[in-house]
Symmetry: C2
Subunit: 278 residues, 2 copies
């Protein structure tokens, strides 16, 4: 038991629990420690320097105090702005969410044209466009700022949400067409969006256009984690009898506990309050 | 000119620009300095101690560095959690947004039963229920977490927004009825909601129930500010030829400039970046 691999998962909020869910499905006999830096979210409106400092603090807590042997940065903003800073701050392997999503898009796309739905902050960072470009893909990013609030309201299967998704999808398709793109792949570039995958796929199927393959970056990241960490042989050593999950939040434990189980697909249990300072 | 009254207005974001707008309409010959602490929003998920520290820093900047002779706290969370701390931190008169809204509700309501639409954080603070209770009113608060994102998406006159407002209003009315309330007054308890007043009034008029009087706490606060500050005779001295407005934000100047004019009802002009520290 003492050799059970411990995987640290970090997000600015609790959306990254969809990544944790995908990880536990693929590595059921590992220990997971999750930190949601809810006191300092949203990272999206903060400078690169500030995000890097915040993310490094959480990463160091996971490695030094919780014994994490691998880190998954389950946060698009931190992956976009602070992955190098986190790698500098700790001595364990670190995986972000953006690169795996872009790699999965390359594997899925036949036309080489890809659409990305994400938050305003992620779109403004153009991290997906850059990562897709590095894979030889042409990507168009679409900011969908209402989707996170709709998920957090619990309206994952609601007529209003379907209408909002329809508006965003139609705008995105029209803009892609105007740019002469022939997109066949859609990347869900936000950790909240896996909860909207059914409604997004339903809306995509309405259109008369080309069928779209949906890439869930939470799934892609978990697959990349298995390749990376298992490649190092660590998740097979000293496995625990069943998945162990421990969650920390820097504030708003109540909201985390109330909403977290929807993201994780099981009860999050007691969430511990963590003080990382102002 | 050197005696022109300077009024400091503070918010965690830029929603408080609706309060600034109402103030400039009533005090067109004053100088206004606005601080939006956008780097550290949302205040709603933070502890009372943290909100008090943040708000006191902005208040001190407005008074000490910008020469504000009065302060208006155009932020529901800071008004709910930190009004006393701000009053302790500065030596000028300080006015929040909650008390004026409750006073206006008392003046408007015949039945003594009042509904309040607000953000999740404001509802959880129960500041409006307490302020209305102090006025002898019975208040029911309804959290409407999708309304701020819809306003920030620019969908102030959109079918989706009307449908969301209809859902919230119907839920609120059903719950009030279940509690045996006979509400005749609705308080808009968030600085973003004045932009939704037309759609809210349209939806309220659909119902078969009692007609509802809408109280806009931005308007109520501006009226209270005129009473308080003019009662001290200060806004009549040394007035400027026309309204002067200077805006500071602690981050996200771009979003502030892009959306701010909708809230202020005129261009916000150049927004200065202000560093209040981490």
């Amino acid at each position: 038991m003492k050799n059970a691999p411990t995987i640290g998962v970090f997000d600015s909020g609790f959306g990254g629990l969809t990544v944790l869910r995908a990880l536990t499905e693929r590595m059921p006999r590992a220990r997971f420690v999750f930190v949601g830096d809810t006191a300092r979210l949203p990272y999206g409106s903060k400078s690169r320097r500030t995000v890097a400092r915040y993310a490094a603090e959480s990463a160091q807590f996971l490695v030094r105090e919780q014994g994490a042997q691998f880190l998954v940065i389950a946060c698009n903003t931190a992956s976009a702005l602070a992955l190098d800073a986190i790698k500098d701050a700790v001595s364990v392997p670190v995986l972000g969410v953006i690169e795996p999503g872009a790699q999965a898009a390359r594997a899925a796309s036949q036309t080489g044209d890809v659409l990305v739905m994400a938050t305003d902050a992620t779109v403004q960072s153009h991290a997906y466009a850059a990562a897709c470009g590095a894979q030889g893909l042409r990507a168009m990013e679409k900011a969908c700022p209402l989707l996170v609030p709709l998920v957090e309201e619990g309206w994952t299967e609601h007529a209003v949400t379907e209408e909002v998704v329809r508006i965003y999808v139609n705008e995105m398709r029209a803009e892609a067409q105007a740019r002469g793109m022939d997109a066949d792949t859609l990347v869900l570039g936000c950790t909240h969006y896996p909860l909207l995958r059914p409604v997004i796929e339903r809306v995509l199927a309405e259109g008369a256009g080309r069928a779209m393959r949906v890439i869930d970056s939470a799934e892609s990241t978990a697959e990349a984690a298995v390749r990376l960490f298992d490649g190092q042989g660590r998740t097979r050593e000293g496995a625990v009898a069943q998945t162990e999950i421990r969650c920390f939040a820097t504030d708003s434990v109540e909201k985390f506990e109330r909403l977290g189980s929807k993201f994780l697909g099981r009860p999050v249990g007691k969430v511990d309050l963590l003080d990382l300072g102002g």
